[in-house]
């Protein structure tokens, strides 16, 4: 018997089986197992090129069919109480369930066609609303806080700070790596100079946190003197150095050509 249908058309063994049942125009509840099994095996023979994984699924079904076929050939064991179960029953149940889902999927397809004609709109939240910031009620926020509590918290911070000072270790020098940006410092000093015109070296260094920062500041000052933007005066050795800023603008270090 020739089979003109392409194998690729079948989703799996159940699909193929349904096709054969349909083609032979037989009742799903009364499958002529022998006939269907033969046709089924014919199909499988044509599938040699298919991958092993796909083949195995079809082979499992083939084995099931042959199993049913052989059970049907054997006489059913005679039992008085139990009614003999048709060996095909399980297969019929599976086929019916599968057929039902196939049927529903067609129904769903129709529904999708209708639903796809409906168009939605992305959210469009007005600018005024996305910019909105909730007003914060300070009273509520501080409702549990009293001045006494705030005082306690501050006390404990001071204490913690003091606790951190180890009487022995605090005498050690500091080992730390701090990034001081030379070109930033260069500009900062000029900004300071622009604002104050004359200032003392000590004042300038007041906010310096580390030795490195003092060194970098000092280097910047030397450079600024070199390019004629600063003038310094010192009355006596070790006295504070008085600095006068001469320029009226700020230049970047790159322009100063270090």
């Amino acid at each position: 018997m020739s089979i003109p249908v392409k194998l690729e058309a079948f989703e799996g063994p159940l699909d193929l089986l349904l096709h054969l049942i349909d083609k032979n125009k037989v009742n799903i509840y009364d499958i002529p197992i022998a006939l269907i099994t033969d046709q089924y095996l014919d199909y499988i023979k044509q599938m040699e090129s298919k991958s092993l994984e796909i083949m195995s699924e079809f082979l499992v079904m083939a084995a099931t069919l042959i199993n049913i076929k052989s059970r049907m050939l054997l006489p059913a064991p005679e039992t008085e109480e139990e009614e003999a179960v048709d060996p095909r029953q399980e297969l019929v149940d599976r086929l019916l369930e599968y057929k039902m889902y196939k049927y529903i999927s067609v129904e769903l397809k129709d529904r999708e066609m209708d639903a796809s004609r409906v168009l939605f709109k992305p959210p469009t939240i007005p600018q005024e609303i996305s910019d909105f910031k909730e007003e914060i009620n300070v009273e509520d926020l501080l409702s549990d806080l009293t001045l006494a509590k705030l005082h306690e918290i501050f006390k404990s911070i001071v204490k913690k700070q003091a606790d951190k000072i180890d009487p022995i270790r605090s005498k050690f020098g500091k080992i730390e790596k701090e990034e001081i940006n030379l070109s930033e410092k260069f500009i900062q000093i000029q900004e300071y100079g622009l604002l104050h015109k004359t200032f003392s070296f000590r004042n300038l260094l007041e906010s310096a946190h580390s030795r490195m920062e003092v060194i970098v500041s000092f280097l910047c000052i030397l450079e600024l003197i070199k390019i004629g933007r600063l003038r310094i005066e010192q009355e006596n050795l070790f006295d504070d150095i008085n600095i006068t800023f001469l320029a009226s603008d700020i230049i970047h270090m790159e322009e100063a050509a270090f």
């Binding site: 989703e11 063994p13 009742n27 699924e57 999708e112 409906v118 939605f120």
Partner: protein, 189 residues
């Protein structure tokens, strides 16, 4: 008077949000109880069905969303390009219907019904946001359980999973009989 104001607020919310908004969330924003708001929205849905309206409200599993009416489709595609949605092959539709009816369901259970490996189909459905993971089955290997998404309901015009076609046993029985008759008919020929 007050009702009209609430209707206006609901319209503004659904328009701005664009997406499906849970009725609880709307009720909370409007400071009303959920049942009242749900009733008001359902009443609005009827009003929108009037012939001079091009948009309406749909219900999706306890959430509401504003969208155009299907009859407006032809007009809209004349003015703007409507992005083509992914095409669902028969395999995907078949797998999707199994998941829809049997959820939560594991991949293995799907494969048992279909009789074939279903990794690819399930992965594609997850990619299309029609199906999502819904936790794990308390069994050896703790396999992932799959179920359908809100996007599934939207894409198939379903209000909720209850509105899926033929699920109850009687209908299934009807369907079986129908199928039998069909087959019988063929045999008679």
């Amino acid at each position: 008077m007050e009702l009209k104001m609430i209707e206006a607020q609901i319209e503004a919310i659904l328009f701005t949000m664009g997406e499906a908004v849970e009725v609880d969330r709307i009720a909370a924003a409007l400071d009303h109880d959920t049942d009242t708001i749900r009733k008001i929205i359902r009443n609005m849905m009827d009003q929108y069905e009037g012939e001079d309206r091009g948009i309406h409200i749909i219900e999706l599993d306890g959430a509401f969303q504003m969208c155009t009416k299907p009859s407006m489709y032809e007009t809209i595609i004349k003015i703007t390009h409507v992005p083509k949605k992914h095409v669902l092959t028969d395999v995907l539709l078949e797998t999707l219907s199994i998941i829809a009816y049997k959820q939560p369901i594991t991949k293995l259970q799907i494969e048992q019904i279909r009789g074939v490996k279903s990794d690819h189909a399930v992965n594609k459905l997850v990619e299309y946001n029609l199906v999502c993971e819904m936790g794990r089955l308390d069994a050896p290997g703790r396999p992932i359980l799959f179920g359908t998404t809100e996007e599934f309901l939207r894409s198939f015009g379903l209000q909720s999973l209850d509105s899926l076609p033929v699920l109850n046993p009687e209908k299934l029985e009807d369907f079986k009989l129908e199928a039998e008759e069909e087959l019988q008919l063929k045999l008679d020929i």
